[in-house]
Amino acid sequence: MTDLRAVGQEDLIVELLGQLEGEERESIDALAALDPAERERLLRLDAELLGSLALALEPAAPRPGAREELLAAAVTGRQATVAPFVARGGTASPRAGWSLPLAATLAALGLGLAGLFFGQLQSEKRTVAQLEAQLAQARVSSGEVAAMREDMREAKRQLALVGTRGVEVCTLRPREAADAAQEEGPWGVLYVAPDHQHWYLAVRGLEPSPDGHAYQLWFMAEGRAVSGGTFSVEAGGPVELSSESMPDGTSAVMVTLEREDGPAEPNGPEILFGDGASAIRVL
């Protein structure tokens, strides 16, 4: 019974039908009084109706080559779960949102954080070198080469961001552990470019998410949590996410465990939290 939720279908129908008041209540009561099969049928009809609305639009032609790119991505096993973070084609403009909440603490360069930063820098350099070596020796299909090239470009972008002068670095930890300097448990490092739009997040130590659930990144901005997308974790595997945009006024970030479809607001348990006040700027 969770299939509809997985695509937001039932949520929309509930949104459409579930907030009625006064006289409108009667129609809902009548709906509830129906036998379950008939009610299910009505919901199904409404779902199909909503799904059909796209047919009312003028069809749009895909870009040449898009089909081949999709198939290559599918064949090479590149997951779509981190895709929401990637915003190619967007134009990034300098915005002050991230820097303002951090201004008071930017000068406080913590040695532990600096260690994480330089460790990450070395890690990215190693990744780029490994990918370049693999690419040079590759005797694989064109799809795999294309995926490898994209991985290398992404790693280079991340390396460039991590090494940028003026990048701001913020650690993410479980909130109860943030002040305890615990060595165990999950942690993450968020790098925010000087334009306050490009960012790169490296997370380690997360447990694989349970079936039907996924981790979700949130930007806390102007009193609201804005979803940065969902991601999955393989056993023991690292997580690295990046994008070219973040909401204006972001003052903190957090990772929660949510339903797999990624709700619009955080409902699940908080796993990691990073406050802008703890960030540093690499000079």
Partner: protein, 199 residues
């Protein structure tokens, strides 16, 4: 040698959407290609309607189709048709990106058609059915009172909650709800035969 009950690519065009999804579970990329050909034009139109830019729409549709590929086993024919499932996945991703972008003004613009060499679209009888369904839907949407059509479009294409619609339009929340419900009821009644055919 392939099992006898596994259709080869040449016969995929004869299969129903749900059969193609079953082949996705078996990691048949030719089934994904066939689903792409059948639905990408509609999905792109939807994503462009929501996001307003062809580039972002392309990315969202690619993401949605990869989700279909990776989560094919979760599709349940008892819950929705494949086209509705795909539309709602693409819509969900487009709305998510729209919210992230924090676009306030209405971004919906008429999508510019690009007659590129890579254009694919549903074929034959399926194309005719799509076309006729689209025509009937457009006609019924046009018959709706403007205020009912407006709330439905804001809810579906712009991802606005009913409270947000009320605030944006200055219409009382209860009225927004009533208009939405009436629009759904009228469309459901008028298009019942089309919708029943999808069950």
């Amino acid at each position: 040698m392939e099992p006898a009950d596994t259709p080869r690519s040449s016969s995929l065009k004869e299969l129903e959407d749900r059969d193609l999804v079953a082949l996705l579970v078996e990691r048949r990329e030719d089934a994904l290609a066939e689903l792409y050909d059948r639905h990408v034009s509609m999905l792109l139109a939807l994503a462009q309607r929501v996001l307003g830019t062809p580039e972002e729409a392309e990315e969202v549709v690619q993401e949605a189709l990869l989700q279909v590929w990776n989560q094919a086993e979760r599709y349940s024919p008892d819950r929705s048709s494949v086209s509705t499932w795909m539309v709602l996945i693409a819509r969900s991703r487009a709305i998510d990106r729209l919210r992230k972008r924090k676009v306030v003004e209405k971004t919906a613009v008429a999508a510019q058609r690009e007659e590129g060499a890579g254009h694919t679209s549903p074929e034959g009888a399926r194309a005719v059915l799509h076309y006729e369904r689209g025509n009937r839907l457009r006609a019924e949407l046009a018959r709706l009172p403007g205020e009912q059509r407006e709330v439905l479009e804001k809810a579906f294409f712009e991802g606005m909650t009913q409270r947000e619609i009320a605030e944006a339009t200055g219409i009382p929340l209860g009225t927004v709800k009533t208009r939405t419900l009436l629009a759904m009821k009228k469309l459901r009644t008028a298009l019942r035969d089309d919708l029943e055919a999808l069950l």
